[in-house]
Subunit: 419 residues, 2 copies
């Protein structure tokens, strides 16, 4: 399969771009001869941009979108989310993850790093929808080290099922957090990730309460506790990291850990202030993510980029921090790199993940400062076409099976709340 | 002209809604007979919601969208915005305001309160596009009291031209700020607003610098300075009010002044923290607004609602503050009231301003918590139809003359930066 996108705007220049199989094979001046292709797209109205990579989701939680808002964290979890999650089935998760995939495609995202229950439901959805995904079953042993063996067997089982899905879909390793997972399971799950050469994600230092309890229970702050267990490395993504001190930042840098910053979720749940400026000064790898739809309440990285930049400018008192290009790179090239993908840039030889955005969309007018407009002004409607791994997932804002996905998600939600 | 919207979701119930001329004339159960109408809309896929009212804009600044981002405030104004504004013509403003109107309609807004140069350009655009607007020429005398007479004559002249436009469009009175307008012009412009029974808007306490200089120059904080001039009343909207103390809040409450809160703009420019909780405790009237596209960078109140609520939860540390319904009301019924309109609610006898939102849009799925989804999840694409004053401004996301508006705005921008 080959696609020729003709006369499209790439970094202020018009280009012809050829996708062959799953890579950008040629980027030419439109005047040069280019031969034939299976599909021709007239790019005159469009700019081509890298797609977005969402480094932390609980995708099936789209089913709980709007179910419990504006509620104190403790009650949000214990009185609303957990009771509902107790009734989840793999079928619910499949329908929730399909809705999430639809939403992500429509807002330009082609990869998500997911942590949730019933990972086969999520993997099936991601595979069918044509997305890339790292999907991890959420490991929670209730601080009971005796359950470590069972947890690791569960994680290993999912990894062993990787062959059931497209190579776009991988299973990964994700213990939930230091306050829900015993040291034994943390250590063994990390060893599993190292053995299998897989990404390892964990929620870390999300709330002040987590930090306080960590000091009380382990005599160490969360980051320092993880280091003491020997489980920080370059394949680790620490999610949130709202509450860090200088020593924490030094440790994350030293072990080449990535931070997945989730600004909308942190704001909505009043988790505290992630200090981007200090993390940047410490030269820590950083990416941005939406978290689950239950604490956001959507999965749009387009929106997340603006919120991230505005939040940082507001908190730091400096309107020059986290400028448009920087947050755009965190959501494209840097996120793809953190996900281990040779993607995130429109370049010959890179994986063919990209967006065609409509230059006549009102939020991108007047023309002339596309990255700024994408970050600060655009909404998903400006994205006309989404290509992932050389396949067209959306064209003219139409995604296959939309009606069926919406119907399935509505039915799954009604079934879930009835239980 | 009459419109019948059949079987549409209104507050969790299916209704038939009849619009006659510019009002909602009947709201009936779908089983009741309703007679004929000039236009029939099948509402089965839709919910009907009040439209949004934007209480502070500089609409033509859409032309400067993305022109100067991520820059320190002083340099932003002096090195970038003001030099460009010096070249503005009425034609530029017309094209910028048309683009703004297009953007506002597409994101569900039917009214804007505008402060800018060349108000006839803005009035023409608002009138043609079918929007409601209060439009004020921005009064700036460079602190030169000798120019007061000229300023007031200018404001009076625009007011005298009100008859040239639809009754949806009004001219209003807006001195820019206490640091750009002399006490004499402030007092006389306020007297003009009172004489003509018109709204009066002013930027107030936006930055810490403004407060410091006010104390230095006038011996009073900005709010107290305005009170000392006798120009606070129920027709006054004070824009921003980022920096208030308890006494300021008491004064604003005492004079029944409205605050137009512009969260995205305040965050992007690092203006400081508007304390919504304290303003609410002081029982001050509050509405929400986008400010100009140059400091936001769009005019979507849908987006602004989410940013407002998330910002407040983050700053206050309390996830229960500014819940979805409260910010939704600030953008609909309360804003319409502050604009002096009998609108903002779908009720018999109210002005026929409304939105039809597509219940199958992924961001509104699963169904069952529409206001939360609108505030925290939706993007403008979910809005199918916009009706203002009984006229359809958008249907199926199509607005008349879109291509011409985009072309005009691009040309106006190129002309402006060439000068």
């Amino acid at each position: 399969m080959s696609i020729l996108i003709q006369n499209v705007l790439l970094n202020d220049e018009r280009k012809d771009i050829i996708i062959k199989d799953n890579k950008f094979s040629k980027i030419l001046d439109p005047t040069d001869s280019i031969g034939s292709s299976d599909l021709l797209i007239d790019g005159t109205r469009f700019a081509i941009l890298p797609a977005f990579y969402n480094m932390h989701t609980h995708s099936a939680m789209t089913l709980m979108r709007g179910y419990a808002d504006d509620i104190e964290l403790h009650s949000w979890l214990e009185d609303h989310i957990w009771p509902l999650e107790a009734n989840l089935t793999e079928d619910h998760v499949y329908h929730g993850a399909r809705l999430a995939a639809l939403e992500m495609i429509k807002s330009g995202t082609v990869f998500f790093n997911d942590m949730y229950f019933f990972p086969y439901g999520t993997a099936k959805a991601a595979d069918e929808m044509g997305l890339r995904a790292d999907i991890a079953p959420v490991l929670i042993d209730g601080m009971n080290a005796a359950r470590a063996k069972e947890m690791i067997a569960y994680a290993q089982e999912t990894i062993d099922h990787s062959g059931d899905y497209s190579s776009r879909v991988r299973f990964a390793v994700s213990p939930h957090a230091i306050y829900t997972v015993s040291a034994e399971t943390l250590k063994r799950s990390f060893a599993l990730a190292q053995k299998e050469n897989l990404p390892f994600q964990i929620h870390l230092s999300e709330s002040q309460t987590e930090v306080k309890n960590s000091i009380k229970d382990f005599g160490l702050r969360p980051v320092q506790y993880l280091e003491s267990l020997g489980i920080l490395d370059s394949n680790v993504t620490a999610i949130h990291c709202v509450h860090l001190d200088d020593r924490d930042r030094e440790i994350l840098k030293k072990h080449n850990v990535s931070i997945a910053h989730c600004p909308a979720s942190n704001m909505k749940l009043s988790s505290g202030h992630f200090d981007y400026v200090k993390a940047k000064q410490a030269d820590i790898k950083m990416v941005v993510a939406t978290d689950g739809a239950c604490s956001n309440n959507n999965l749009s990285l387009l929106e997340e980029m603006k919120i991230a930049s505005l939040r940082e400018k507001a908190f730091s008192g400096d309107p020059t921090v986290l400028p448009a290009r920087e947050i755009f790179d965190m959501t494209t090239i840097k996120a793809a790199k953190a996900a281990g993908l040779n993607a995130g840039k429109i370049e010959e030889g890179m994986l063919a993940d990209c967006l065609l955005v409509n230059l006549d969309h009102p939020t991108l007018v007047p023309r002339g400062h596309l990255i700024s407009d994408i970050v600060y002004s655009a909404n998903p409607e400006c994205i006309d076409t989404v290509i992932c791994d050389g396949n067209i997932l959306m064209r003219g804002r139409k995604v296959k099976n939309e009606d069926d996905i919406i119907k399935g998600a509505n039915e799954a939600y009604r079934d879930l709340i009835r239980k």
